[in-house]
Symmetry: C2
């Protein structure tokens, strides 16, 4: 039973990888930077995105977002207030997003990808299962909050070792949580040597400058790649 | 492909349910209260258990714990300092505990169940997948921290609606997080009408009294049931 299950699961993952590769090609061709944001529940993905999308729009960029949740469309409604195009993906019981869901929502939305600069894909809050599913993103960003504890990178190594960058969120809680920030950084580097680490507070705005500068730099690289390929 | 996968998954769940039913019978027969503690990553299950097991031992009770994590045995080492018997279950990639893992660890540990009062099973930090797996527990307790936001019960309904009680942890962070405690309680009651809600801070000790009293009451009931059956 278990071996048949593993075999079938490998089939699902391989189908997902094919769809993800096609999405990646479309994103790259459009010069669009797609980011897959992964974290546990309540790490503050939506709060960071609210501030980020507001700042990007104010700076003349064109972001959009797809938001995954088991239930409710609260997050999409929060993000839509920025004025950017946003769609909620309600997964029902599914514990992660898959490339097929992303593709389906993009088709339903009818967005012209070449008229977007950033596509934020906010995954289901889960530090385990989303690690196995490529969504065609250009970059995977793993978030962990100051309130969750320094040990999380070591306890969820698949997620953090598959990420291109990490964001430590809720920096304003570092003091009340007695966070050992050096230890958190060290643990991130242990599972993913050399990983880019950004540190933000969506509440106070701390660290938003470096985060936005990093995004702009990554976007410029995606754009150069698109220019080379066309 | 998907329907075959669902069929096989149903088979795995049904096998799990059979094993869980056998475990439940053993726990009840021994007059042992088994609790399945579920939450997202970093909610503070281990910190609550550290305080709880210390207090139970000081009060003459006999607790034990099984601790599930994808990787590391940090949590088991933390809990073992209480002097209680503790075993770590490293799941590798598995995003949840299953009855088979619990049964295997109990066999390996060789604990005499009738000489224990409480068995705490700390699940993998994941608010989605553990909801589907019965571990034979007498009670399922879902934890959510003050730092995670009031919307979590609504966004992870399967987990909270399958729980017998909820614990709001890290109460000391309610103020810096501007938690709306009434809204959190209302959302818990919305997905699980009448659910018992306990509110604790493992840091300050707030709420530990009512939590320990609730545990003792549940333990007494388990003991009465065992007496009736033997």
């Amino acid at each position: 039973m278990t071996s048949r299950l593993i075999e079938l699961r490998a089939g699902v993952l391989s189908k997902n990888d094919h769809l993800a590769a096609a999405l990646r090609e479309r994103f790259q061709g459009a010069g669009l930077l797609a980011l897959n944001l992964v974290s546990g529940p309540g790490t503050g993905k939506t709060a960071l995105l609210e501030r980020t999308m507001g700042a990007l729009i104010a700076g003349g960029s064109r972001p959009a977002a797809l938001v995954g949740d088991l239930a409710t469309d609260n997050d999409a409604r929060r993000l839509a207030r920025s004025g950017a195009p946003v769609r909620q993906i309600e997964t029902g019981g599914l514990c992660h997003l898959e490339a097929q869901l992303v593709e389906g929502q993009l088709a339903a939305a009818g967005w012209a990808l070449e008229q977007l600069d950033y596509l934020f894909i906010e995954n289901v809050g889960n530090l385990v299962c989303p690690a196995s599913y490529d969504l065609g993103e250009g970059l995977r960003v793993a978030l962990v909050s100051a309130a969750e504890g320094e040990d999380k990178p070591l306890k969820y190594p698949a997620m953090f070792s598959s990420a291109d960058a990490a964001v430590i969120t809720k920096l304003d809680l570092a003091e009340p949580c007695e966070l050992d920030l050096m230890l958190m950084r060290r643990n991130l580097h242990q599972v993913r040597p050399g990983i880019t680490i950004l540190e933000t507070s969506a509440r106070t705005g701390a660290g938003m400058g470096p985060w936005l500068a990093w995004l702009a730099e990554q976007r410029a690289r995606a754009s150069v790649r698109a220019g080379r390929e066309t």
